[in-house]
């Protein structure tokens, strides 16, 4: 049985007297200890999908479909708080916005241990120092006395990871955890997250716009466009032989270290949100392979790809 199972998830928010759909028809599973990357551009619905798992959706949002965690529907109220405290943890893009600036790093790390996990206060400090050591921060005793503004973004994100490890959750939701960091720091933070997650058998849902980063750190990838999953496959296969024209376009349009193209092969137009899409395939207006039929009917996601021409395009060697 999957650790997390999302079925036919749809999410809409009220805006100006109507419902604006942000996520539709999303099916996604994550096994124990598995790392899945949810990749997409702005407005694709990737963050909303992850947030729906722990009820962090905008006020008044209408959510339909099923989200099962360990076989049980995600609860509300006290049980949801319990789930967030012990079993599902989230890492955000900007740690500075999610760590109380007037409390010390030590308070931040030990508070959850003491209140949620029942660790005696005396032990919590020592445990926090060990956790900081694990995320590569030495001199932990001094760090615990520091405040968030005294730490760089990279260090603070590692503190955030340490706090997540403290609870030993079954699942980590990491929403663009390294986007605000420098490339060398990104490499280090992802390596730490990857290593410690594997050691402890934690599953991860990595939300990112960076296909290469997701491919390097995840077992499976799901690419989202306009609120839907358009392709979901093992990471190696998806990047080596992408099937959906959008995935192909994303991989091609990224500049490379090895070669210089006179012009980059671009996807025309801009990414759209689910509520902006017409009734056919949401990607059709930007797709070089689109037929008139693509604009008429929305292709179903068959568990691998959502494109009515995927099979014939692959045969033609288009990918």
């Amino acid at each position: 049985m999957s650790l997390l199972s999302i079925e036919k998830l749809a999410l809409a928010v009220p805006a100006g007297g109507e419902w604006k759909t942000l996520v539709e028809e999303v099916d996604l599973t994550i096994g124990r200890g598995e790392a899945v990357g949810l990749v997409g551009e702005s407005g694709s619905g990737k963050s909303m999908t992850a947030r729906a798992v722990i009820g962090l959706t905008p006020p008044g949002a209408r959510i339909t479909g099923k989200i099962l965690f360990d076989g049980v529907p995600v609860p509300s109220g006290r049980a949801l708080r319990e789930l967030r405290a012990r079993r599902v943890a989230m890492i955000f893009q900007d740690p500075r916005a999610h760590i109380n600036p007037v409390r010390s790093v030590g308070d931040f790390l030990t508070e959850a241990m003491v209140t949620n996990l029942g660790v005696p206060a005396r032990e919590a400090g020592a445990r926090a120092v060990r956790l900081l050591e694990e995320v590569g921060i030495g001199d932990g005793a001094r760090r615990l006395r520091q405040y968030p503004h005294e730490l760089s973004g990279g260090l603070l994100q590692r503190v955030m990871i340490a706090s997540v490890l403290a609870a030993e959750p079954d699942l980590i939701l990491a929403d663009e955890p390294t986007t605000a960091l420098d490339v060398t720091t990104q490499s280090e933070v992802m390596a730490i997250l990857d290593e410690l997650r594997r050691e402890r058998g934690m599953a991860m849902l990595l939300i990112t716009h960076d296909l290469e980063l997701a491919a390097a750190t995840c077992d499976r990838l799901a690419v989202m466009y306009a609120g839907r999953i358009v392709e979901a496959r093992p990471a190696d296969a998806l990047t080596a032989t992408p099937l959906h024209p959008y995935t192909i376009g994303l991989l091609r349009s990224r500049p490379s270290l090895e070669r210089v193209a006179r012009r980059l092969p671009v996807i025309p137009g801009r990414p759209v949100a689910a509520f902006e899409a017409d009734r056919g395939c949401a990607f059709a207006p930007r797709c070089e392979h689109a037929l008139s039929s693509c604009g008429a009917e929305r292709p179903a996601f068959d568990g691998t790809v959502a494109c009515s021409r995927a099979a014939e395009l692959t045969l033609q060697g288009e990918s």
């Binding site: 720091t185 490499s187 092969p265």
Partner: protein, 262 residues
């Protein structure tokens, strides 16, 4: 012809040395990348080129004329603006949210050229078209445009004055992947059309590879390596450049841990 010559640039804020001993030249039509991470001093160098910061020491020469620190007349400021323009990273905060797109461009034009209203209108539309926007966008406000479209407006505003040098400070960093490629192509087109030079400031080596001929790598305020971009990326000499390159996600790449932070 050398359009920019920077020699021994240094910028100190109180005790902190932001930039030390930075020298480089940019030739006409050339694209120079300044590569670095946060705190490397790359943006401070850009701001000094524009006159938004005053160097503590060192000299900047643009189009053969030195730009000594100190107050200058508004006439001289306008003349300098004709030589060098900038596009910032954030297209949300670098446009006036109450100014219509057409007026953004027209203001820039009328400041520098004596145009009749009809000519102003025609030239505005030409510029919008040259960056891939349409006439209908002229009447819109910045909030009605997407991030990529706003960055196109910022580019149109900058090239409106026909500058010799365009400084692009992380100008594609905040854009979606598919939009980033469109803007990089637009910048390549603009360079092919005219005699414009770029100073392209970026942390993204793949983007730098696509857009620049030569590059300097900055670390902690100083230049650690320089050379033709292709050579620099293929055969980096300095450990820091190697570390930067090794950190770029690509097929077959795995993130790695450095030594522990003390």
């Amino acid at each position: 012809m050398t359009v920019i010559s920077a020699e021994g640039l240094r910028k100190v804020y109180g005790e902190a040395v932001a930039v030390q001993e930075v020298s480089f030249t940019v030739e006409e039509g050339q694209s120079l990348a300044i590569v670095g991470e946060s705190g490397s001093g790359k943006t401070t160098v850009a701001r000094m080129l524009l006159g938004l910061e005053t160097p503590t020491s060192g000299t900047i020469t643009v189009c053969g004329r030195p730009r000594p620190p100190g107050r200058v007349s508004s006439k001289e400021r306008r003349r300098r603006a004709r030589e060098i323009q900038i596009v910032f990273q954030d297209p949300y905060s670098s446009l006036d949210k109450l100014q219509r797109i057409g007026d953004v461009i027209a203001t820039s034009l009328s400041l520098h050229f004596p145009l009749t209203p009809a000519e102003l209108r025609r030239r505005t539309l030409e510029l919008l078209e040259s960056v891939g926007l349409a006439e209908r966008h002229a009447a819109m406000l910045p909030r009605q445009l997407s991030g990529g479209q706003r960055q196109r407006v910022a580019i149109a505003r900058a090239i409106a004055v026909e500058p010799r040098v365009l400084v692009l400070d992380e100008a594609v960093a905040a854009l979606d992947v598919s939009i980033q490629a469109q803007i990089l192509n637009l910048l390549a087109d603009i360079r092919e059309r005219g005699e414009i030079s770029y100073v392209f400031i970026s942390h993204d080596l793949a983007v730098v590879n696509q857009i620049s001929d030569t590059a300097i790598v900055m670390h902690k305020g100083a230049v650690v390596e320089r050379g033709p971009t292709a050579d620099l990326l293929r055969d980096p000499r300095e450990d820091y450049t190697r570390a930067l390159l090794a950190a770029v996600p690509r097929p077959g790449w795995k993130p790695t841990r450095r030594n522990r932070t003390p």
